[in-house]
């Protein structure tokens, strides 16, 4: 059975946004967030683009700084909190933050024992984080781990070129728990690295998204097409095909991920089914259902399940699957308490 694509007269090709000045979109959203959660978050730069948990820096604890473009909530800002990241630098929609903003976040996160940079592998972000790290050098020790979970973005032999998508959540959760437990920078970085190394993701896009300031879609898709392996900015995936059924999509994504992770009978995993924006929660659970059945059939134990929006692409329709293979350490770190305005464990 194929998936279903409906044609709607009267809504032809429109995408409507509830915004004011498109150029003020990010700053107004941040203003709303800071106003809504004053006990949990605070701005730590004059332009309010560097934001830290309210009690940062935590003396003696390693700081974790993340960042990236806007339009992906709860990524990245949503993972600043207790047991998660310490601070974030917020870029414009789908654009890197500046090295200055990252530096401000770094200073706010530094509790005396260094800072881990933990973010997704995108050119602009990498360059600006690297530059910030150089600017901080001497003052603050930094290390860097980038999320490279998107199996569709490069073949295994070039896995370090892969992009970071929703699976970054697992790295945040594990590194955040490690930092909260008081581990030194090397230990926090090792937790992040282990989480990242054991995580794979892949997504499918059903509709594009529009950048508020640019006003044009990030890509175009035929009326009954989907993009398999799409990135969270609408990056091209592995192939474009006819929209398939939920079970086929779930099966395709899991197959790629399981092969890349070399999942085998007896493994334990955490599963994250992530919505890219417009796709209803009900559909995410329909996907999860097939993923779960398939893993059960493979003899892979699902120890933790997350279903919802963890890394979005504005109003894009679609979903992604992330799987992290668990060892005892990762299982313990994943289970640790965490609390931000957007996530609670």
């Amino acid at each position: 059975m194929a998936g279903i694509s409906y044609f709607v007269r009267g809504v032809a090709g429109e995408m409507k946004k509830i915004i004011n000045d498109p150029n003020a979109f990010v700053d107004e959203a941040l203003d709303g967030i800071l106003g809504a959660h004053p006990t949990m978050l605070k701005a730590v730069s004059a332009d309010r683009r560097a934001i830290a948990r309210a009690d940062a820096p935590i003396k003696g604890h390693v700081g974790i700084v993340t960042g990236g473009g806007s339009g992906h909530l709860p990524l990245f800002l949503g993972y600043v909190g207790v047991g998660l990241c310490t601070a974030v630098a917020v870029g414009n929609v789908f654009s890197s933050p500046s090295s200055e903003q990252i530096l401000a976040a770094t200073r706010a996160a530094h509790g005396g024992t260094g800072v881990l940079y933990l973010y997704g592998n995108y050119g602009g972000d990498v360059m600006n984080f690297d530059l910030a790290g150089e600017l901080a050098a001497g003052e603050i020790e930094t290390d860097t781990v980038v999320g490279i979970d998107d199996v569709a973005s490069a073949p295994p032999e070039r896995s370090s070129d892969r992009r970071g998508v929703a699976g970054l959540f697992f790295a945040y959760k594990c590194a955040g728990a490690a930092a909260e437990s008081g581990l030194p920078l090397a230990g926090v970085a090792a937790a992040a690295r282990s989480a990242a190394a054991n995580t794979r993701s892949m997504g499918v896009g059903l509709s594009p998204t529009i950048l508020p300031a640019a006003g044009k879609p990030t890509f175009e898709l035929g009326p009954d097409e989907m993009e398999i392996g799409i990135g969270i900015h609408g990056e091209r995936g592995i192939r474009r095909g006819r929209l398939e059924s939920a079970d086929q999509i779930a099966g395709d994504l899991l197959e790629k991920i399981a092969a890349d992770l070399r999942l085998s009978r007896g493994d334990a995993v955490a599963v994250l089914v992530n919505g890219l924006g417009a796709t209803p929660l009900e559909e995410l659970y329909v996907l999860y259902r097939h993923v779960r059945r398939t893993l059960d059939g493979m003899g892979v134990a699902v120890r933790r399940t997350y279903v919802g929006e963890f890394a979005t692409s504005l109003e894009m329709a679609g979903a992604s699957l992330s799987v992290m293979r668990l060892d005892d350490d990762l299982a313990r770190l994943l289970h640790a308490p965490a609390r931000s305005p957007f996530f609670r464990e």
Binding site: S95, S96, S98, S99, G124, M127, A214, K216
Partner: protein
């Protein structure tokens, strides 16, 4: 060139380069996210203000450092990180100079190029700003006399034209793969426009 002279030159060149906003937006729209026009125009505008606000005794190195940090912050992106990286390296290489000689300018360029390549983990042929930058600096090495800027412009333009038919291998454009064939690189074009703006500013100021 003293700090005071450099400020006047940069102020005019930055004013001129900002006028390429539409072209750069369109080029970046074709194979990127379309923000390069704004990045360059806002960056240039902000840099003019910051430099104007500096003490009059500022050294060339200080002025170039301010240029770097201002551009890096105005409308952050891949390109601004690269530009800032190159300018910071250049600024450091002439930290002790009150005034710049032609040899100093060459040193600055020679320091900037590897810093940018390292930052971007890119090589010539990846169809990036390096494809205009590297040949233009080679032209400067060959000729630090009067006609150097013209030679740099010609080399940069040739570098862009020569790579337009290839595939973009770095940055956001690389996501589009084959679809980038035929499109000149936006960042390289921005660099070319800056060289042209410098050249025009210099002629105007001489006249």
């Amino acid at each position: 060139m003293t700090g005071a002279e450099l400020r006047i030159l940069l102020d005019r060149a930055l004013d001129l380069v900002g006028k390429n906003e539409d072209e750069l937006r369109d080029l970046d729209s074709a194979i990127g996210d379309g923000d390069l026009g704004i990045t360059v125009s806002r960056g240039a505008e902000a840099a003019r203000k910051s430099i104007a606000a500096m003490p009059s005794a500022s050294t060339p190195s200080e002025i170039i450092r301010t240029l770097a940090t201002t551009i890096a912050s105005a409308n952050p992106s891949s390109f601004t990180a690269l530009v800032a990286t190159g300018l910071l390296a250049a600024s450091r290489s002439v930290a002790d100079r009150e005034s710049l000689t032609a040899a100093d300018v060459l040193t600055m360029a020679q320091q900037a190029v590897p810093a940018i390549a390292k930052r971007g983990k890119a090589e010539v042929g990846d169809k990036t700003v390096l494809d205009a930058l590297v040949p233009s600096v080679a032209a400067l090495e060959a000729n630090t006399s009067e006609g150097a800027l013209d030679a740099m412009i010609a080399a940069a333009r040739k570098g862009i034209d020569d790579t337009a038919g290839g595939v973009s291998r770095k940055g956001r454009a690389a996501w589009l793969g084959e679809r980038t064939i035929g499109h000149p690189d936006p960042g390289a074009t921005a660099y070319l426009r800056f060289l042209e703006a410098l050249e025009r500013a210099r002629s105007e100021l001489r006249a």
